[in-house]
């Protein structure tokens, strides 16, 4: 955007400007991020009100307290009983302070675990609503074990013997979102986003400037459509008009139809099949190749022992390993030296590559 205003050349991944319409993909994805964060967008309790005939909110994790950022309880949809768990953002500043902007604390995720396990015991399918900037990063959350709570919530979802439908309705913000998003099926609203870190956080680490957030949003491919292409999201539900905020009732109707359809589909599976299929869904995520047991990478900085150095001195050298490594250029060699410097700086503060 700034580049365009200043007439600077664009990044190379940006397609060349066509006469009309000049939609910068960065602007497009950034517009979606803004829609996903729109405070007038219907949040979990409002959607639950639209979707269900009956709902009783339950409170507390039975260990420490109640977290207003995560809500849940039993509900009835079209005569069928389910368990609802979701993040809850506020509609205004007052409510957002009470809801902590939808940022879950350990007690919130532990409440989620409690409700998941209750649902399993009673044989209720689980429907989760995901809409959070991320888990709360404050000191009290660390003191009470936010990472432990997230990991255990994901663990509970992995072993749960009832169907789980996950709806990403707004912001899918990293670990705090994933903690209640490991469903059998993951559905997203059209303008929802999902990412490993907030675009601002990613930009300040990799671009060293939070103003580059739109670039980060584009690079992370965080729109629902992109995530569907990656297989992280199974279904994208169209939003009415300009977005969910213009018609909460219609948004609710569309989500309700999808929930009922998925409930029917998942009801056909036995608990064992459910757990196995869910495990399989997440087991296959990853993009890697296996080069097999090939030679060590040439030019490696791992300091060899005397025997290795002698062996290396005596052996013929120069076999290439992978494609990328084989086509080493001067520039790569320079990068490698930079990398080596970084490698030696093991006692530098950690790179902020956290979720």
């Amino acid at each position: 955007m700034v580049d365009r205003l200043l007439g600077r050349p664009r990044d190379r991944e940006t397609p060349p400007a066509t006469p009309a319409p000049p939609v910068d993909p960065r602007d497009a994805v950034w517009a979606r991020v803004q829609l996903a964060r729109n405070p007038r967008r219907p949040h979990t309790l409002e959607l639950v009100g639209q979707i269900t005939e009956a709902f009783v909110e339950l409170h507390g994790d039975r260990l420490f307290g109640d977290d207003g950022a995560i809500v849940g309880g039993p509900a009835r949809i079209d005569g069928r009983r389910v368990m609802i768990v979701g993040h809850q953002k506020g509609a205004d500043t007052d409510e957002n302070i009470r809801r902590n902007f939808g940022m879950g604390k350990p007690e919130g995720f532990r409440k989620a675990i409690r409700l998941f396990e209750l649902a399993e015991r009673l044989g209720l399918p689980v429907v989760t609503f995901v809409d959070t900037p991320g888990a709360y990063p404050g000191a009290e959350a660390e003191e009470r074990g936010i990472a432990d709570a997230i990991a255990r919530s994901i663990g509970a979802m992995c072993r749960l013997r009832v169907p789980i439908i996950t709806l990403i309705t707004g912001e899918g913000g990293s670990g705090g979102a994933l903690a209640i998003a490991a469903g059998d099926v993951v559905v997203a609203l059209e303008n929802a986003v999902y990412a490993v870190i907030s675009p601002e956080g990613c930009a300040s680490i990799l671009w060293r400037s939070p103003e580059k957030a739109p670039d980060a949003a584009l690079a992370m491919r965080m729109s629902a459509q992109d995530q569907a292409e990656l297989g992280v999201i199974d279904r994208v539900v169209a939003e009415p008009g300009e977005g969910a905020h213009v018609d909460a009732a219609e948004t609710g109707r569309r989500l309700r139809a999808v929930i009922l359809e998925e409930l029917d589909r998942l009801a056909a599976l036995s608990p064992d099949e459910l757990v196995a299929k869910r495990g399989g869904r997440y087991r296959v995520f990853g993009a890697f190749d296996d080069l097999g047991a090939t030679e060590p990478i040439p030019g490696a900085a791992e300091r060899p022992g005397l025997a290795d150095r002698l062996r290396r001195a005596l052996e013929p050298v120069g076999k290439s390993v992978g494609d990328a490594i084989g086509s080493r250029t001067g520039r790569d060699a320079r990068d490698a030296r930079d990398g080596r410097d970084a490698g030696e700086g093991r006692d530098q503060p950690p790179a902020r590559e956290e979720v």
Binding site: G138, S174, L230, Y282, A300, D332, G343, E353, E354
Partner: protein
């Protein structure tokens, strides 16, 4: 272009290679002594970060470790470019470390007891977890499950690898799913948390050890102290997110110095390991 004489890199870095300044007490440490002391400062006890290879050498019985899946390399699923393309960063890290990604796993013996063991390498892109790290941790858990041996994972990582986007995030579920299956099979899992263990690695397999063992003063946390301090304007308590902080709040079972780590793990395995798994002299490690 650099020549490929075998001794040249060592000669070139001769002076800084001999001495290391302790970042904690500023003592100049002679590298040979430092290595002999398992890369722990003899003056103040500061634990230096070590590579995954060195870690496995320190922990496993000599000659018993057999690496698995060393040929796994990340693709670039998003076509991610920031100041430079992700594949360039990968190649640079590969050349610098001699490893293809930030984790090593395999089978080895500790005190004669066979285990599946995985170690993360902070020197490779901050030990960040992308597809390969997630896959190796998962395969280590599956290997432990298949062979009915205990699992040990030594973490040292900044968290999920941003360059792989939500596919990196999905590794949290993948690794936790494998640990759940291991848990159901009645096999113990020991998580060793080294400096630093943060973000998505801490919020997945690292937090979930049946026993969590941390090295002294290791940075362990979810949000990274600077993130917390930056986003949430509040005073951070002293020792925030250090191993001792986690210990006092009940999330770490034991804080163990590197000198004692191996013995401690051997003892834990003897007490927790599945009955009748005391085989594994070097010759009996099964392969294939």
């Amino acid at each position: 272009m650099p020549l490929t004489l075998p001794f040249r890199p060592r000669r070139e870095t001769y002076p800084p290679d001999m001495w290391t300044k302790c970042p904690s007490c500023s003592e100049m440490l002679f590298n040979k002594h430092l290595d002999k002391n398992l890369r722990v400062c003899g003056t103040c006890g500061h634990h230096f970060r070590i590579s995954a290879k060195v870690r496995l050498d320190q922990l496993t019985d000599p000659g018993t470790f057999r690496e698995r899946d060393e040929g796994l390399v990340s693709r670039d699923p998003l076509g991610f470019v920031d100041s430079k393309p992700y594949p360039d960063r990968l190649v640079a890290a590969q050349l610098a470390t001699g490893r293809r990604d930030a984790a090593i796993w395999g089978f080895g013996a500790l005190g004669g007891r066979r285990v599946a063991i995985c170690a993360l390498d902070f020197g490779f892109m901050g030990g960040s977890m992308g597809s390969v790290v997630g896959e190796k941790v998962t395969r280590a858990a599956e290997g432990a499950f298949a062979d009915r041996v205990p699992l040990i994972v030594v973490s040292a990582s900044g968290g999920a690898r941003m360059q792989e986007g939500t596919l990196a995030l999905m590794q949290l579920v993948k690794t936790i799913g494998a640990l759940e299956r291991l848990r159901a099979a009645g096999l113990p899992y020991i998580s060793v948390l080294a400096d630093p263990t943060t973000g998505g690695v801490f919020a997945s397999f690292a937090a979930l050890g049946d026993v969590n063992v941390a090295e002294p003063n290791a940075l362990i946390g979810f949000a990274g102290a600077r993130v917390s301090a930056g986003t949430i304007a509040e005073e951070l308590p002293p020792g925030f997110q250090r191993a001792e902080f986690l210990f006092s709040h009940g999330f770490v079972d034991r804080i163990v110095t590197r000198a004692n780590l191996r013995d401690e793990l051997v003892l834990l395995l003897a007490l927790l390991g599945p009955a009748g798994s005391t085989d594994a002299t070097p010759g009996s490690v099964r392969r294939g």
